[in-house]
Symmetry: C2
Subunit: 121 residues, 2 copies
Amino acid sequence: MQKPVNLIEKFTLFSDLYSPKVVAEMNDYQFKLARIEGEFVWHSHAETDEVFIVLEGKLTIELRDRTIHLNDGEMFVVPKGVEHKPSAIEQCKVMLVEPKGTINTGETNNTDLIAQNDVWI
Amino acid sequence: MQKPVNLIEKFTLFSDLYSPKVVAEMNDYQFKLARIEGEFVWHSHAETDEVFIVLEGKLTIELRDRTIHLNDGEMFVVPKGVEHKPSAIEQCKVMLVEPKGTINTGETNNTDLIAQNDVWI
């Protein structure tokens, strides 16, 4: 059985950007922590929605038709198949929820931003 | 498409205890907010794990073999089929993540604590 997870404390265990780390699993879904700073790449996930929960800082999620601005304690669900580009001017701390096996860059593979999957901390 | 959700602000929209309100949906999962105070009933969910994330306050989750204590910013996954009893001495604010249709009292139906399901705020 998994232990309780202190989300902010877990961030002391890694410093790399745009490289989600798994902290918990429920059924076939994972809860991942990520540090976001600067611009990510436009991408979408054909098979799944994706949840962003901002734990610290400010996150921007550009969609093709509008831009979502999230502060601490705010969440947003990017629907499956919808192109999005996360970014942050100053580094922010985010929790992602998505099915196990979801690749951070989705269908976009012409990028060096693809992170190793299923890395637990 | 859903809008951004400010989790703590959503709590201004309800005051009842142990009555989870849905604030977001991803695929066939829901994110629910609940106010917890006093003792809930022992129950389990035969078909699913259940995630508890404490947003404000302190939450206790008794299991048959140990007790989990969670503070603000901490989460815990109760595995499917595992009996648990949430409680809080002072009211706390919690986010639950579980499949759509999950009943708050699980397999335990001899209780008046069964909440109406799928209530959005």
